[in-house]
Symmetry: D2
């Protein structure tokens, strides 16, 4: 069994994340270094990151854990509570996200750290959502954007 | 909300893993380098690894995902199928496990790779279980053992 | 053969880096989350990070490579040139630095990414030095500060 | 300034490592899972790994440090001594090697751990060399083989 690109895009959509939102983050990260960069190139880079199996698997796991916490389906109620309160020292969310960045080298890792701290655009929206639980998704979106930006850096 | 050491030991027990099983793996890994190593020291090293927050969080997440797949509670049925068939290229299981090893340096990482390939003791039992799904737990147990062995190496 | 803490502090000094410079970075990273944090606590946290063997080894290797490039002692002249021009896509400098962060969990990794991008305090000084080559040292200093900040976060 | 593929092959040759030696390791790792695998495919996979910039940079740095230790060119005599005695807890050698594996996902990481422990073929030769210092090169060769094997796994 393998997940398809379309399924992954649907999962992101159901988490209220559009490819363009992620591309905007990658564009903003890389624009200072590549003055003639276009949003179209950033979109293509995000699509390319999203088509990697490791990335698709990480997205599925993160979305499953978020929705499971959100719908109170978790068996382990301590874990449920930790995820609900988005404990800053939880760490597993960043770990899953970092597995995406690893594939794209050290620039992806430093970009991710930066974006995780600044929380621009869609990441701020996800992170600031007081009603829906997005513990994994905001980190995953940051990792995809950071990786797409690193891809652009290596190609230009 | 924080998880307690006792809870984590209970989770391992419910996954049919005893601290002694993990300690035996760490002991076998390190015995060739530390001839006077005792099983008691290996047990203490495992207990010490198990008391780290990062480790406890990784165990909770892995056990939740395994039990969720086992009880057909996953919302994403593609992910459910991938975990049920224990797809060799899934990768997220090793990622969660590696987050445990990272804390204990590069010896923990190489020990984990070795143990993940050889599947000795309890890992072989978990991995060979045709009925219960243990996709995350066998890697997590391997990572704890590898980390406990690395701790012993650094202390001797 | 083992390196001593005093040797490592001397290496940092010869690279024009004082413990207080690193502590200031850790303090600034963590102050928003720990309002009663003192610089003294940040200094103690940096000292604790500096006493880890993995960290001491990474510092020695980074300083050796920087000084080797600086004094034109490298055998491989392509590598010499890459390090002299501080190529943005080199990557090995971040890798050595990230090995320090790994020990301190995912907060250390994201802190490092942020600091590597913003280049505050001593990192900006090292990075902006047009005369002396500091390719590895600025990343290593960032990693030590990020790790010391993560230690403070986990302890408070 | 950028390193060329030919330069990297020359560096490996000067460290007495042939592409075929590395391909043999990747072949042996993957043959049990891909029965119709040919050595030719393993060679192509190694060549592909060797053409990645991150990998080329890691090879250059490792070879420079090994030759520097070998020729007693290191400024830091403690580091010189640690590398000469190939201290098991040094760790920076594995870190540089793991940066190669990271790009190829978690299978590369576990393959590396296994090979680093078993030391088959050329790795055993390098590691057992009592006269020439190969602290970094044996780990780097293992990482390239592990990565080439992971590439084969993902493509078949």
């Amino acid at each position: 069994m393998d997940v398809s690109y379309e399924q992954v895009v649907d999962i992101l959509k159901s988490e209220r994340v559009e490819i363009e939102d992620i591309a905007k983050l990658a564009y903003d990260l890389q624009k200072p270094y590549i003055p003639d960069l276009t949003l179209k190139e950033a979109i293509d880079s995000v699509k390319c990151v999203l088509s990697k199996r490791e990335v698709m698997n990480a997205i599925m796991v993160g979305a499953e854990l978020d929705s499971s916490a959100r719908e109170n389906r978790m068996k382990n109620k301590t874990l449920q509570a930790i995820i609900e309160e988005d404990a800053g020292l939880f760490g597993v969310d960043e770990i899953v996200a970092l597995s995406i960045c690893n594939v794209y080298g050290s620039i992806a890792l430093t970009n991710f750290g930066y974006i995780d701290k600044i929380k621009p655009g869609i990441i701020g929206v996800l992170n600031g959502d007081q009603i829906r639980c997005n513990v994994f998704m905001d980190d995953i979106v940051g990792a995809i954007a950071a990786s797409a930006a690193s891809r652009l850096a290596h190609r230009h």
